[in-house]
């Protein structure tokens, strides 16, 4: 990590931050507005991946490997979350034959 590829320096760090923030906002909007469980789940993945992008960019600029190690942790755990999440969505689909979360309103008060 002593030598950062010069290619990173071509793009200013602010651009990475702005791009990641835009991706993150798209993810949040997706979670808040979409009604399909799968698409909400994809939006959450988008949020996590924008975080990955931000970590990698900062890590390269600071010549510090910790950020990239963190990205591996995020990827591994996101995969675990997807495994559990898709299983839960399949369980719901078997019962109500749809993945539309607005139908799920048994619990309220």
């Amino acid at each position: 990590m002593n030598q950062i590829p010069e290619i990173f320096r071509v793009v200013p760090i602010n651009h990475f931050v702005i791009l990641a923030s835009i991706l993150f906002s798209i993810g949040i909007l997706g979670v808040l507005t979409r009604r399909n469980a799968i698409i909400i789940f994809m939006s959450i993945e988008l949020m996590l991946n924008s975080v990955n992008l931000l970590f990698v960019a900062f890590s390269s600029y600071k010549s510090d490997p910790t950020g990239q190690v963190f990205v591996f942790f995020i990827m591994a755990i996101a995969a675990a979350e997807v495994a559990v999440g898709l299983a839960i969505i399949v369980m719901i689909y078997r019962r109500i034959r749809t993945t539309d979360v607005s139908i799920l309103n048994n619990l309220k008060g």
């Binding site: 760090i13 931050v17 990641a20 993150f24 993810g27 949040i28 979670v31 469980a37 909400i40 789940f41 959450i44 949020m47 996590l48 924008s50 975080v51 931000l54 970590f55 900062f58 890590s59 600071k62 510090d64 910790t66 950020g67 190690v69 963190f70 942790f73 995020i74 755990i77 675990a80 979350e81 559990v84 999440g85 839960i88 969505i89 369980m91 719901i92 019962r95 109500i96 979360v101 799920l104 048994n106 619990l107 309220k108 008060g109």
Partner: protein, 461 residues
């Protein structure tokens, strides 16, 4: 690391013991393993067993040991209470126990992290296990729905926390809490750092279910099986409070001028919303869910005052008393109604006629949650209010005291239903968990009459 390793092995062993199809054996192994874990947490040096690279990222200091021992102590009884639920034929008992143990590994990491990576991994081990546990009652639509809601909102909150971590990493170039706690002024002033703190705080408030980020918790609590709701409102509450206090009370307290106001308003909102909405609930579990939001409000007092050992001990005392009270309530409910997840408050009417002891324990539990003197809840609230008074948070104290008065009215409803009703209820009349109710109820009384014994014990660890 020793206890964490022990529990991880215990989880794996339980998965294999599951092949024998012997629920009693699995549960005995799980309980013995947890007791061994509690013993190793209290009496052995955690650093006997470390893994290279991790020794600087998890630190079992006295703060971590206090919270971890409390978590392990209460989860032993939760495991006993799970007996009736895992005997249902469509519940996978071995997996249920193993996932429960794995989630405890995450909970212990949340009490002892010193690095962003361990905080994140702990949150996710606890979170992912809970998504599964919430959905274990596969035949119930409520359980399915709770599982999905918890998954989507929990993952959402994790995403927010991660974004905050990335921003702080960008601002400071470090992911170690101690390094971030000792920063120069120039780095603190950057907007990246402020936004980072903001996102982490919002995400953690979400995880402790403080209002206005509480909307998921009543639904998830109501839909989950009873024993899982007990687990969430006891163990998960302790673990997430250990985490939020460790981040903002221990490490980032120097920067309290950034986050103090947000926590202050979240505290006010939790007290008001939790107590007012609990007034209109009709089922026992939903009432307890809103009561748990208001308890979050009282617990957040600890973040608003000057951090010292006394505050930490008060926090542990409060969580201990609250945990015991919920434990009593659920063991009595399990005795009376089995695993029925939708017990109405009206169904409690006249229960004292068929089970005096249980009704008595339930009364103590609810009185303690309301904070009536002679029960532990009174001193728990007192220990929370005293530092706040010393810090001069008068308005907050007034709201706190008024909302505990409102709280007392709805905590009295189940008590009135149990004792003063002419109806005769339909109860299952099992006495299998009476000993848990009796023991935890005694602890509540001890904490109420001799609070010094318990608080000295906590200070000793």
């Amino acid at each position: 690391m020793l206890t964490i390793t022990l529990l991880s092995l215990l989880g794996l062993i339980l998965l294999f013991v599951g092949f024998l199809n012997n629920i009693g054996l699995s549960r005995t192994i799980a309980v013995l393993g947890l007791v061994a874990g509690l013993g190793s947490m209290l009496f052995l040096d955690q650093d006997i067993l470390t893994f290279s690279g991790l020794e600087t990222q998890l630190s079992f200091d006295s703060y971590a040991i206090k919270f971890s021992s409390l978590i392990l102590f209460l989860s032993v009884f939760i495991l006993f209470l799970s007996g009736k639920f895992i005997k249902k034929d469509y519940v996978q008992s071995a997996e249920f126990l193993a996932v429960l143990i794995f989630s405890l590994v995450g909970a212990l990491m949340l009490t002892s992290f010193t690095h962003f990576i361990t905080l994140f991994v702990g949150l996710e081990i606890l979170g992912i296990s809970l998504y599964i546990l919430a959905g274990t009652d596969k035949k119930s639509p409520g359980s399915n729905e709770a599982s999905l809601k918890y998954l989507l909102l929990g993952a959402f909150a994790t995403g927010i926390i991660l974004f905050g971590m990335a921003l702080i990493y960008g601002a400071t170039g470090s992911l170690d809490f101690q390094a971030i706690a000792n920063l120069g002024q120039a780095k603190i002033d950057s907007s990246l750092f402020k936004f980072g703190l903001f996102f982490i705080l919002i995400g953690l408030l979400f995880k402790v279910s403080a209002a206005p980020f509480h909307f998921w918790s009543p639904d998830v609590y109501e839909g989950s099986p009873n024993v899982v709701m007990l687990f969430m409102s006891v163990v998960v509450k302790i673990a997430s409070f250990a985490a939020i206090y460790r981040v903002f009370g221990n490490y980032l307290n120097n920067y309290s001028f950034f986050w103090w106001d947000i926590v202050y308003y979240a505290t006010l909102a939790s007290l008001v919303i939790g107590n007012l909405l609990a007034l209109v609930q009709k089922t026992v579990k939903r009432q307890l869910a809103f009561s748990s939001i208001s308890q979050t409000g009282y617990l957040l007092f600890a973040l608003l005052v000057i951090p010292n050992d006394q505050t930490v001990n008060g926090l542990v005392f409060y969580l201990f008393v609250y945990g015991c009270a919920v434990l009593v309530a659920f063991s009595v409910l399990t005795d009376w109604f089995g695993t029925d997840p939708n017990v109405k408050l009206d169904q409690l009417k006249g229960a004292s006629k068929s089970d005096q002891m249980g009704s008595f324990a339930l009364t103590i539990a609810y009185l303690s949650m309301a904070g009536i003197p002679l029960t532990g809840g009174f001193f728990a609230k007192l220990f929370m209010f005293t530092p706040a008074m010393e810090s001069g948070l008068v308005q907050l104290l007034i709201v706190g005291i008024l909302s505990s008065v409102v709280g007392a009215t709805y905590y009295l409803r189940p008590i009135i239903n149990v004792w003063f009703s002419s109806e005769t209820p339909v109860l299952e009349k099992g006495n299998s968990y009476q000993w848990i109710a009796f023991m935890a109820g005694t602890l509540l009384l001890v904490a109420g009459v001799f609070p010094d014994t318990i608080s000295n014990l906590i200070a000793l660890i």
